[in-house]
Symmetry: C2
Subunit: 335 residues, 2 copies
Amino acid sequence: MAEKVIIAVDACGGDNAPGVVLEGVGQALSQDPDLEVLLCGLPSVVEPFAASHDRCQAHPASQVIEMGEHPAEAVKEKKDSSIVVGCKLVKEGRAQGFFSAGSTGACLVSATLNIGRIKGVKRPALGIILPGARKETFFLDVGANADVKLDYILQFAQMGCVYASSVMGVENPKVGLLNIGEEDTKGSLFAQDAFRLLRDELPQFAGNCEGGDLLNGGFDVVVTDGFTGNVALKCVEGTSKMLFTLLKQVFMSSTASKLGAMLLKGSLKDLKRKVSPDTYGGSPLLGIDGVCMVGHGSSNATAVCNGILSGCREVRAHVGDKISAMVGAPGREVA
Amino acid sequence: MAEKVIIAVDACGGDNAPGVVLEGVGQALSQDPDLEVLLCGLPSVVEPFAASHDRCQAHPASQVIEMGEHPAEAVKEKKDSSIVVGCKLVKEGRAQGFFSAGSTGACLVSATLNIGRIKGVKRPALGIILPGARKETFFLDVGANADVKLDYILQFAQMGCVYASSVMGVENPKVGLLNIGEEDTKGSLFAQDAFRLLRDELPQFAGNCEGGDLLNGGFDVVVTDGFTGNVALKCVEGTSKMLFTLLKQVFMSSTASKLGAMLLKGSLKDLKRKVSPDTYGGSPLLGIDGVCMVGHGSSNATAVCNGILSGCREVRAHVGDKISAMVGAPGREVA
């Protein structure tokens, strides 16, 4: 039997909330018998669902933070929103993790303010598991910190190592620094300084990683600032989306191609699943004193389910404790 | 009849030089009857080719700058290299443009040192035409300047407008700033400052462009610093490469899929051509006092041919004169 885990879930976050969120919660509850969900959101949404599901408690919240709202202002003003209520359940120790497919910005602000950082962590970082032709890569920061200092980058790399080794099961993760050339002397002045710091302080550091190598599995963890990381992630997602759109056009272009596409249907679906962000369903916000998973706004039920289950894995892997042990210890002793 | 154009070509640059370069030069000469090529490189390479082709002159160079060499040192030391010889032909007015598929870094350094910048241009920028599902986008800087100042960004945007309108034929190009959110207040402090500057000084400015929107044709020109731009470009290329690799695996996975792939072969080739960097064959280095096109190291003959022809188009469009007129004029009077 797995360790019991309690996750607070924002029932009202995401483009397709609450429908797909509730469906995803239902799937997660049935896939993980040791999961308990605290469902946060409008009473009319969370109460009937909790009443009809085992291991699910309703935590009414009278407000919803919308996607377009200014994150910091919304979190400050909407103290009874599902995002704030969910984070507070983690802070109070009533849940070990929080999942939302709502506003990423509001989740970052609320997690930082209402749950707080792990002692010693300078800034939390948002990570994501990228698919690859050979293997997966953990990539951070993908948007929590648009402006970073040098020492944040080292901590991001350390937190990435913890996640890769304890959640993704990578032994001795190889860490790369996202840069615009492979050689030591390449890149912006900041990237050059970051290279030297990582080389000197992080035993797992293995060199620079170019944008084109992000998906080819040469590194287990790739680290960058939240501006470059967000641009890079969106470029990967955007290119993939464009190519699938163009492929669809190719498939519909003639009778022969329609037939060809029919024969490929099953394997193409597998491919699409492989590269889809729904497979993990969320980005872990590392460095927060509790698990916090942020899902894509466009999450479907599978993504929500997988996001919640990824949160459970992070809780069971004791990622927070390991990060805490690491940032307190000198760089060279990182596990 | 089109205007006569003389392009100096580095015969020894690129992973597959000189074979594919010579083949590409041959194709370009036969496609453009008003093109003349000054072929720079080892005498044993350039002399026999020039002797057997009309409108092609040999310009022997005794040295070759290899891909792995330090750009600035190589350009300084190898004064009789094909890259330096080619740029000097432009400086002396004997050629109007230079094309090389060799070391991008060495081309940037040599073009800046040996040809020089247009008066008023603070830094040259490397641009690229990105394919898209709906239409193309001109994207810069993709790597000439890892560290930039605010006023460089404005000039990059202005030079991008000139290229898009005069070479790509876009009327009233819409300019976007690569950023990590659409709203005015999003992004790093630098990106926020750049947003305000572009909004105030560039009539063509239309707002922030997220990484995911780079390929969807919402903007005609997207501007960023050379670090972010290079990462973004490599991510787009890397994702495309990974997906085609995975597609190939899908196609070979069963008898049915092999048959399906056969039926799709022709249209998939069209798709691959559409998103291939070979279609334009090179990145224009804007802001240099003469045309300079840098090809991919892995260029094939088609890419070399298209790179040379893109250079001709830039010469005939008088891009340099237009940039010169623009940087001398106040921001609001940009064409």
